[in-house]
Symmetry: C2
Subunit: 335 residues, 2 copies
């Protein structure tokens, strides 16, 4: 069975070039398993495909001339811009014309559009954006990194359940440990909201280890870290900024003097592997969990490789029936 993935050709800082390039790469690599639909301004998409010498037969193009800008209010934009690539892309999922939607466009608009048009899975109260980051022990899933900046404790419990299901699905690990992002491990730490969340998770049958600190996201103390979307977003973006400054300082310092320059030649291979580990584009996209459809939100700065990997994540979620599993587990969790 081929998975039908809709790719938002117009969303992202480097759209349409990098997005379409990513789509072409994905189609080349996952040929047998993938049917790719490109949604966006048809003439623009066709021109890009032509430039890359792609075979038009490999792609289905859905015309969507409107664009949702980053400055648009997400909720208003998805109601008004019915001809935008985000709204049309989500509609294709809703009408079962395709199986999954991948977009590097406005996160807010993708979330609002998905909730509005797809609705939520049975039992789910709020969607959450999950993201996998590297840790000293493997990978950590953070949920939520920006769908819901003012959640209630019950939402974080549901994030834990969804995060566990996703972690198992993608990384094949059972009984993953869950932690709450807090400013200290002690029970007394944090806001009232987090104290209530702690009590709720303690009562559940999740493998809950208590509060974890932000540094534990990378130390790998647990596999799934739940948090409100504001804190999660801060955690994610700080890492991005920090990675950038570290790379810059590192190279500046290494380049100084002859020995450093010579050394850089020798360590080229090692640095390349290192960059791969911390390169967000290796991880593709972040699934929007909890909505009634498979939706992947890619980083605004996604390059072709990130898009290709996001398409792969979308295919895996479809093939392994992620949403059925989430629905089942939400039904079974003790709340």
């Amino acid at each position: 069975m081929k998975v039908r993935v809709v790719l938002d050709a117009m969303g992202g800082d480097f759209a349409p070039q990098e997005i379409i390039k990513g789509g072409v790469l994905a189609k080349k690599e996952y040929k047998k398993d993938l049917e790719l639909l490109l949604v966006g301004d048809k003439p623009v998409i066709e021109e890009e495909l032509k430039k890359r010498g792609a075979d038009f037969k490999d792609f289905e193009i859905i015309h969507a001339p409107e664009i949702i800008e980053m400055a648009d209010s997400p909720a208003k934009a998805v109601k008004r811009k019915k001809e935008s690539s985000i709204v049309k892309g989500i509609e294709l999922i809703k009408n079962n014309y395709a199986d999954a939607f991948v977009s590097a466009g406005s996160t807010g608009a993708v979330v609002a559009g998905s909730v509005l048009n797809l609705g939520l899975l049975p039992g789910i109260m709020r969607p959450g954006i999950a993201i996998l980051v590297p840790s000293l022990k493997g990978k950590t899933l953070i949920i939520d990194v920006g769908a819901n900046i003012d959640p209630k404790p019950i939402h974080l419990l549901q994030y834990a359940v969804m995060g566990r299901a996703y972690y198992k699905l993608i990384l094949g690990k059972d009984n993953v440990k869950i932690g709450i992002l807090n400013i200290g491990e002690e029970e007394t730490k944090g806001t009232e909201f987090l104290k209530e969340t702690r009590l709720l998770l303690q009562k559940s049958d999740l493998n809950f280890i208590g509060n974890v600190e932000a540094k534990d996201i990378y130390s790998g103390k647990c596999e799934v870290v739940v948090c409100d979307g504001f804190a999660g977003n801060v955690a994610l973006k700080v890492s991005e900024g920090f990675a950038e400054i570290m790379s810059k300082f590192l190279f500046e310092n290494l380049r100084k003097g002859f020995l450093g320059k010579l050394g850089l030649l020798f360590i080229k291979e090692g640095l390349k592997n290192f960059k791969k580990i911390i390169d967000y584009s290796e991880y593709g996209g972040a699934p929007l969990l909890g909505v009634n459809g498979i939706v992947i939100i890619s980083h605004g700065r996604s390059n072709a490789k990130a898009i290709k990997n996001a398409i792969k994540v979308a295919m895996t979620e479809v093939e392994r029936n992620l949403n059925e599993k989430i629905t089942q587990e939400i039904k079974n969790v003790r709340m």
Copy 2:
């Protein structure tokens, strides 16, 4: 004039050894300008000083046998453990027996003890912990990183004023730019609390540039970033965790193979400089701004160098009358 600094000999993961070692280093380096008081368990302190061959005449020891543990509730602990190094250290400032207090012990206890015993500066409603981190353009000050996890908009306005005063005092820069930590730059982004804060800062006479994202802490878009203590703490600790994982992955990858090992030899000097830039211990401690006294909170994992640098920061704040300046500026700010 000598500055009289009280050092909490018992606080921190590596206390008392590293703390006292840091005190000895500071005394050696700032001899003429520093009188150092060590507060803590007297026999323990004396033994450590003896081990290091330090001259007992160089230090005044204040006996404080009780220890506030990390698991203690901060507010209760400072009320009950009157003989702890934190409570006694703060009292020495309150009674004008010394000018500044440096502790790597429980942050919560230092904050609670300072507010309770020193009180706040005139006009200040809540204290905030400020920290300087490196940026692509120099340094960024983040305030608050954990004193106040549920602040009101007016508190963030006051953080901006205090942060500006501190930045000017330490780095000599006028008219620093202020930003609010948010999940996007647009006015529509963030919680109601942040939207109100934005309006308040817009009305003030601060050089306010609007919302900044967490990655901008390191890109250096503005010099002072204000936020609630929870978000600030997450930002800080994520960076710590990320720095650790990056170092580990980097070295692991560089060590692979003969060329990498050889290259590592050549780039040793560059790596050392790089590590210095991102090493928190270079920055010493984080000032607790807004309390009626000079209080520096050092990282729990402080080594001797971090303690020495924290003592230097304390001395600078005293010499340059930081708290007088804050009091003046708070009086003048348009609210």
